[in-house]
Amino acid sequence: MQWTINGQVREAEVDFRTSLLDLLREQFQLSGTKKGCNQGACGACTVLVDGERINACLALAVQYQGREITTVEGLAEHGKLHPVQAAFVEHDGFQCGYCTPGQLCSAVGMIGELERDLPSAVTADLAAGQIEWQRDELRERMSGNLCRCGAYNGIADAIAAVLAEELGEEIAR
């Protein structure tokens, strides 16, 4: 079986039961992606597949052959933190750090969804082509990532700062 992981083609023969999460951690020693609940409830295992965020714990590795997978190890480029990573440092977007890789990948995926003007459950006018970005949009869109330390305010600040910087979208507190 073959996958492209953080830009590199990787091969392994694994049992069909192997989740994408266990493939990353156990076969390729990419232990940045974390195993929290292992049942799709916490988001600690969030990775990007072809740019879209998914829960790697609920994904069978065999089903994702040939896809481009990005983990937290693949976010930084040329030794420079991804803007979302830098913002998490700047705005105290973590305490213990266990949920952080999932939060980071999820935030990167969410910004992609924003760029494609995809709506959320709290978007007032679903028919409108453009989303009005409010703080409740950001929190709703990140609800699949739990943080037991409760660093949510810092996480929201960090993502809001990236949106302000990259997209010129100022989001009120």
């Binding site: 609920l58 089903q63 999820s106 969410m110 995809l118 709703e140 699949g144």
Partner: protein, 333 residues
Amino acid sequence: MNAFDYHQAADGTQAIEQAVRCQQAKYLGGGTNLVDLMRETVERPQTLIDVTRLSRDITDTDGGGLIIGAAVTNAALAGDARVRRRYPLLARAILSGASAQIRNMATVGGNLLQRTRCAYFYDTATRCNKREPGAGCDALEGFHRYHAIFGTSSSCIATHPSDMAVALVALDARVHLRGPAGDRQLAITELHREPGERPDLETELQPEELIVAVELPPLAMAVHSQYRKVRDRASYAFALVSVASMVELDGDTIADTRLALGGVGTKPWRAWQAEAALRGQPATAATLAAAVDAELAAARPLPGNTFKVELARRLMIAELSQRLSDARNGGDA
């Protein structure tokens, strides 16, 4: 998780051939429910047939409806501009369910066939007639805040968990099926079964039959449709009660309406009784109250979920009132 064999199907026809050849095969969509249930050993298929290569297209029908391929992801369906404009309750219902990560994985076919989140069904240490026919039901005397008040039986009170399906039953969607005996269509309101004495039989699908598409008929009043969900936290939780609603006014008379409920039924609950009591009646508060009472007459609450009767009553009245108000304003514009 037990060991299993895996095949990827190029299309629906091949998936059925593979399923007929294999013992105890299950179709695998995004896996967000099935993989979890396999890990809990609630599901123990010997073969998984990956059907995510089935159609991911959403196409217009001649009459102004849409045909949605079974492998379209929940996220793609909710994000489709035509769905957002013509069937906003469907987009809202999907976006009200699960998390962004799960909606990116989950398919339309899989969403319809997901299984209940009843904690007793999930916990193999308890008795469950759905998991093991005839074993008994520990939910009946258990914690039933999240259980159903409509369509229950002495064998099962498990709630159908889908938000998307509630919107689809309100829209009178049709399910396109393919099986060893050929193709057929089913009204989505006929897809799911009430538990009766066989809660293990959840749908009208025949062995190896596969959902290949879902068709939305054209429906003008759906432009002003809505989906409202009440739950224990603001996001990423199953419904306590949800309401899908739309109305069409003719002057001050309710010409037509659709009403469906989530979080309260053993299947996605179309409020047929309420609809019948609304059609052709004057758009007054008394009409709404009588219609909602007519629906709730069939409710069979348990001590832990009696609150759902009053919650459903208030939500239905609030939502129908808002739809009437929207229709009046829309008529003026």
